[in-house]
Symmetry: C2
Subunit: 242 residues, 2 copies
């Protein structure tokens, strides 16, 4: 949409004010905004200006337009992290000033599949401890985690004793996770996990599938982490290669 016919001073002032009001929870997360004509009246601007401001806020992902339903305020991400930085999920939540929690969904010992053996780069793994958990921030579900670790290394009975699998592996085995090789994948809707994380129908997940290694390149933990897109935001600096 061309904004050439707009009063750019009015537009910029209204946009700043509206951004501020959203950031200060004048319009709280997940609430529906007033209809356009009311907003225009409240901010004392034309509907054209208000429309352009909303357009821009949609662009910036601060609000979402839902067909036939109005415009809703998006929740603010609790944590924005450089994707090349590996921390435990607990630490990410703690660094956002929230209290990390865990709900166990399933814990079982499974035979490694062919792809598990490939991930662990070993034919010696006899059994994997496989855990599914919901991680919460101040009680709200924000990440769904599936973790697999060699059952000889970490017996499954231990896993309930500690929120952080990173710490558990470290304390129990003396091995420290140093880096992860990660695939980044968008998931529109997951039959089971989207409901567990209380996702709205239009709310996507970011899936990080990652194999964790020690400093000596020993594969030690496989994770599939489904991050609720409004709770976690990832960024990266990309450097020119050609």
């Amino acid at each position: 949409m061309s904004k050439d016919y707009l009063d750019s001073k009015e537009y910029n002032e209204t946009l700043s004010k509206m951004r501020e009001d959203i950031e200060n929870d004048i319009y709280p997360p997940n609430e529906r905004l007033h209809p356009l004509y009311e907003l225009a009246t409240n901010y004392r601007v034309s509907r054209t200006t208000m429309e352009a401001v909303i357009e821009q806020l949609v662009d910036e992902n601060m609000v979402t337009r839902r067909l036939g339903n109005g415009i809703f305020v998006n929740p603010k991400p609790i944590y924005s992290s450089g994707i090349e930085e590996l921390g435990s999920v607990s630490d990410m939540i703690r660094r956002a000033g929230k209290r990390p929690g865990t709900q166990f969904v399933a814990a079982e010992v499974v035979r490694p599949s062919a792809s598990d053996l490939a991930h662990f780069n070993s034919l010696d793994v006899q059994a994997l401890a496989r855990v599914e958990r919901v991680r919460t921030a101040d009680g709200e579900p924000v990440v769904y985690c599936i973790d697999k670790v060699d059952h000889d290394l970490v017996p499954i009975g231990l896993i309930h004793s500690q929120d952080s699998i990173f710490k558990l592996i470290e304390n129990h085995t003396g091995k420290r996770i140093h880096y992860a090789e990660t695939f980044i994948e968008p998931i529109g809707f997951h039959e089971r996990i989207s409901a567990i994380l209380h996702c709205r129908p239009d709310q996507a997940l970011l899936l990080l599938r990652q194999m964790h290694y020690t400093k000596d390149h020993e594969p030690i933990l496989y994770s599939a982490n489904y991050f609720k897109s409004d709770a976690f935001q990832f960024h990266v600096v990309r450097k020119r290669i050609d």
Copy 2:
């Protein structure tokens, strides 16, 4: 699902064979697989084994189960790239052995919004050349690109002359893009763009919003790139920070 009751030799062999058959296009992309009992008969294994194999292939993202519709083979990504490596979209497609192409959707000169001015870190930008394009690989739409560049630097009339905006900026201004600050965001479904990229209803997009800079940290190009998730795969090495 526990696989303890499975014959693990049979399971592993069938999984390997099935993976191979998908990779060799015995089951071509987007095709529906035969029903489970037929697959089990063809591979001469039990239905239990076949079910576990399919479960694993769903996990590996090689096939997708669509409710009431059967199991479909996912297209293979044309290009897997380290997300910290910045190349032009044309180069990414070329490196995958495909012919890059461009369909112009819109090109216009717009006033910079407040957030544009923030991105370009300047109050001096008077007008932006804003271009929307579909990038194709061997004729198939794979990325939707929205680019904004200072109109004083690159007049909009020039943009039709060159597929690569990176090259255009370089040739016309002598300035070279050196890095980008990028936000990574999953998009479940985009009203307009999902249709243009011929996405299936369950097919997500990976949105990279990026500000590109010269070596001297001069902001020069803003892009929003919507990557079709089955065409591009991104990975990253994450290093432990704590």
